[in-house]
């Protein structure tokens, strides 16, 4: 039976969260370590944007400042997410891991199946979206939660989890937000374009559901982590050992934090203004 590393739930700031995910991913390419599942939360509310998003066109900078919400650019693709009351997961695996097919969509499917199985343990019946669809009408296209993509998790047609990936040398990092609670007004207040905010917020509220709503608030982050862990174990036939970061991952995450994820050039301007070198 394959043994994976589990990094237990911990809250950190945005730069640390992204730096740790990327450090694990980079080290998995270099050292071919066993796959990792990591759970984390956010110390303060933060908007994360996708690698290719235009922060100045898609995020209301003043709105963020007014509400005390930070900004970080992810290494992965996709749209903006307001991280507040949520459980974030990250999975990292290298090409030797036979559980994962070598392409993007089927990797989403495998991980969504694991998450769905875990959610069933707390009584949530989530299903995988068969086909992606485009945002319609007043939908806030900037937001990850405005529309489900293929193989993302829905409950009664409403999105519960938004995920994105990064791939290199056959390895991948997939991380995603499982909402514990959701505030559509705040989400709309920090994402552009503003267009009939109340309508946008109402449409977003209709398209999103949360663990809190589905369980009547009876499940907290530790309970959700336990259930998701079991979902991965049962779906993939693996077991987890709890662990920490290696010395190399620690050192690289500190470097990434300082040079990349606390760097306004990366967070605001993106890839054109920042060369990796890692």
């Amino acid at each position: 039976m394959d043994v994976w590393r589990l990094l237990p739930f911990r809250k950190a700031d945005a730069a640390e969260n992204m730096a740790v995910d990327e450090a694990i991913f980079r080290e998995s390419i270099r050292r071919k370590v066993s796959p990792t599942l990591r759970f984390y939360g956010w110390l303060t509310p933060v908007v994360s944007i996708g690698y290719f998003q235009d922060a100045r066109r898609e995020i209301d900078i003043e709105g963020c400042r007014r509400l005390g919400i930070g900004l970080v650019r992810r290494p992965t693709g996709g749209k903006a997410v307001l991280h507040d009351q949520e459980l974030t997961y990250a999975v990292v695996a290298s090409p030797e891991q036979s559980h994962f097919p070598p392409d993007i969509l089927r990797t989403y499917r495998v991980i969504s199946n694991c998450l769905a199985r875990g959610l069933s343990g707390i009584g949530i019946r989530a299903e995988l979206k068969a086909e992606g669809r485009s945002p319609a009408g007043e939908s806030l296209r900037t937001s990850c939660f405005s529309t489900p993509s293929r193989y993302e998790l829905l409950v009664n047609g409403r999105k519960l989890c938004g995920s994105s990936q990064m791939r290199s040398h056959g390895a991948f990092l997939q991380h995603g937000a499982l909402l514990m609670a959701f505030d559509p007004q705040r989400t709309c207040a920090v994402m552009l374009p503003h267009r009939e905010l109340e309508k946008q917020a109402a449409r977003l509220a209709e398209s999103v559901t949360t663990v809190g709503e589905l369980t009547g608030g009876s499940v907290d982050e530790p309970a959700l982590c336990r259930s998701l862990r079991e979902g991965f174990e049962q779906e993939l036939g693996i077991r987890f050992e709890e662990g920490g970061l290696t010395a190399e991952e620690e050192a690289l995450s500190r470097e990434l934090m300082a040079k990349k994820y606390r760097n306004d050039n990366w967070n605001w301007e993106g890839s054109q203004s920042w060369m990796s070198g890692f």
Partner: protein
Amino acid sequence: MKLIPEDLLYSREHVWVRVEGDLATIGVTDYAQEKLGEIISLDLPEADSYVERDEPFGSIESAKAVVELISPVSGVVISVNEDITDDIGIVNSDPHDTGWMIIVEMDDQEELDDLLDTRGYQEFLIQETEAD
């Protein structure tokens, strides 16, 4: 059936190379574009920048995934295909020709020895599909 033209070399990272003297024209293979699906964003190096073998020379986004493009050779980028930054769909529709990405003046042509010919790449794809 994947297109694997005879006049190109291929990396195991699904990048093709057309060699003319010490110049290497580089792009992603038909197999890669098919696996990626519709490409929606692309990030390429600027002319005069330096790329290193086995290191990323750019990134591509499809299906909410950022995929790093791995350079098969080291050298200075002497040209970048501006047409594909204006119309990214070309990478999907014509990956081996008008969908080229960069031209690199190679430091060391011996780096080409590690690349695969058409037959070798075909066999590599079969292995990758079987392992899948």
